[in-house]
């Protein structure tokens, strides 16, 4: 099986995105009941970090940012 650089980048993006997403949402789950302003800000940040990881997975899988070839390319 031949893997070019772009394929490796896609695999790393998907695998890394899954790891980061799981860690982010697990941290959010652990922190869910913690009170206080800073912990609530952390919850928002962790949720958005998880969303970012999902976006990276979708980009790596070619679901997002998969544009048709440009003219003349």
């Amino acid at each position: 099986m031949h893997l070019d650089l772009v394929s490796i980048e896609h695999i790393i993006a998907i695998a890394g995105g899954i790891v980061v997403g799981v860690v982010a949402f697990y941290a959010l789950y652990q922190d869910w009941r913690t009170p206080g302003v800073e912990n609530n800000v952390f919850k928002i940040m962790l949720f958005l970090l998880g969303v970012g990881a999902i976006v990276a997975i979708l980009a790596g899988a070619g679901v997002l940012g998969n544009f048709p070839p440009e003219k003349g390319a």
């Binding site: 980048e9 790393i12 993006a13 941290a27 952390f42 980009a59």
Partner: protein
Amino acid sequence: MAVASPSVPVAEHHDEEVDQLYAETRDLRLQGFLLFLVSDCVLFSSFIFAYLYMRNTGQSWPPPGIHRLDVAFAAVNSVVLFGSGATMHYALENFKHGNFHKYGILMVATILLGAGFLGGQAYEYTNLIVNEHVTWSGSGIFGASFFTLTGMHGFHVFVGVCMLTILLLQSVAGVYTKQKFFGITAGTLYWHFVDVIWVLLFTIFYLI
């Protein structure tokens, strides 16, 4: 200034004063830092909305003669930055629970991942400028907006890497304790903020 009572050693009394001051001002510091993040958010928002407005007034995007940005490489670079957000979060958690060794390892990992992201961005810039001939001033709205926004974000990451390095050195020097660690909390908030801004920039520059 209060005078120490004869029965309490001066150094101990001073520590108590510092602890009391810390407890009294911690919420104010937090509010001040959150206001700083909000102001930074406004700064990025204004540039992002200007970019989106200009982009939607043009007929085609990217402009003729400019190729689309490399999504796969940017996705890997994004994962590197998001990963650093995760390590930073657990670095703070470990510090809170007194696991200073794990905290140190996770802080080093965060700094390395942040530096890795900057390296990736430098590679991407070099590729764009040398191979694609896209420049800040010579490629119209696309070049100006791309380099301004990602450069501004990269500068924030650079500042964050420097700040985390200083925090780590301060931690080693014993500046922060299990009871007093607002600096590390602020560093974590800042680093999460930098991550979240990149989610937006990655989406608007590479995915739509």
